[in-house]
Symmetry: D2
Subunit: 113 residues, 4 copies
């Protein structure tokens, strides 16, 4: 019914949706980007079949998004790039989120059986 490669892709998607909707909206400033990146990566790496997660929040974009006197903004997809590697029964799925046409797009980069 479902192949190992398809299952690997499903698992990869779960991790991406989880990461995004768990952490979107988090108050963030250039002072707190490093700790948030680390927590996001380590939290999602707990999930099954998740081999590695790299989160890079762009300090300059965060700074530019702070448009009020309070000195912080809320995390959204447009402020970060994310890369993940999922391994399921010998299949490796690589995924990446970055901006495309002004919209943060979650992409399935490759599936290697």
């Amino acid at each position: 019914m479902v192949t190992d490669a398809q299952q690997a892709c499903f698992e990869a998607g779960i991790k991406f949706g989880s990461l995004y909707h768990q952490f979107a909206g988090t108050p963030v400033s250039p002072d707190s980007t490093r700790s948030l990146e680390a927590a996001m990566a380590e939290a999602i790496e707990n999930q099954p079949f998740c081999e590695s997660v790299d989160v890079a929040i762009d300090d300059e974009l965060v700074r530019a998004a702070i448009d009020h006197e309070n000195g912080y903004t809320e995390l959204t997809g447009s402020l970060m790039t994310v890369e993940m590697r999922i391994a399921y029964e010998g299949v490796t799925a690589r995924t990446r989120m970055d901006m495309e046409d002004g919209y943060p797009l979650m992409k399935l980069v490759s599936v290697d059986e």
Copy 2:
């Protein structure tokens, strides 16, 4: 590199991770289960390639989970079943979350090309 079926499975996973981590932790009681089910389904149906989402929160399980005087609990996977249908370039992926061995498991039920 990536087949339409694999992409459909990736999209299906994104929806499941999104739904779970957006709404887990929401205060819920038997008085608010219907509105939460509706909002969860309609929110995720906004996402691309998502044809249908059905969320059923179990009132009896919610009642049983209320173990303090405040009369509510927080939404977790053990209180609901979810079914989704994702369509991507002619491929239909069906997914389901329910309890297995005491743990809410997100499952890829079928992939039809």
Copy 3:
């Protein structure tokens, strides 16, 4: 140490922070605003001392925020107004969130003992 009025204000703040950070980031379109408003209000009304919550998501602002081909955006404070009434030991606290200088501000409107 802590007066009933102060406790009422603390409780009022908890509800506002809860509502905002539980639901910010939810996918929303003009087709799903009503169900999301209802779920947000009913969820937070479950919390102790919370007498009423009114959430109004602005369909026109949601439409204007949809800047990509997918037809939805993510809920943020700039798309809604929220009013709450908290009652604690005879004290009523009224709160409101709306836009001020381009930033969604949570305000303590009145405290009546």
Copy 4:
């Protein structure tokens, strides 16, 4: 209408509700508690009038909450204690969350004008 002390308490409540509902549901294991504590504290310290946040996630409780083969659980109030200090116009509000009668309770500990 509203005193500085009441406003300080309202601000204190916002921070607590924000912290809880932003991070509840995050996948956590004994390997990721330290990074999550740091991210939670630094994220909420970005918010206005928030002088300090201390989050302590209990590794033993996390270990005990892992009841399935995947090796992680989801963050809830029962796994952590949180202390915050809010300062507003010369008023300092101290808050604390810990377990009381099996339920994580957010408490306003003191208000000093």
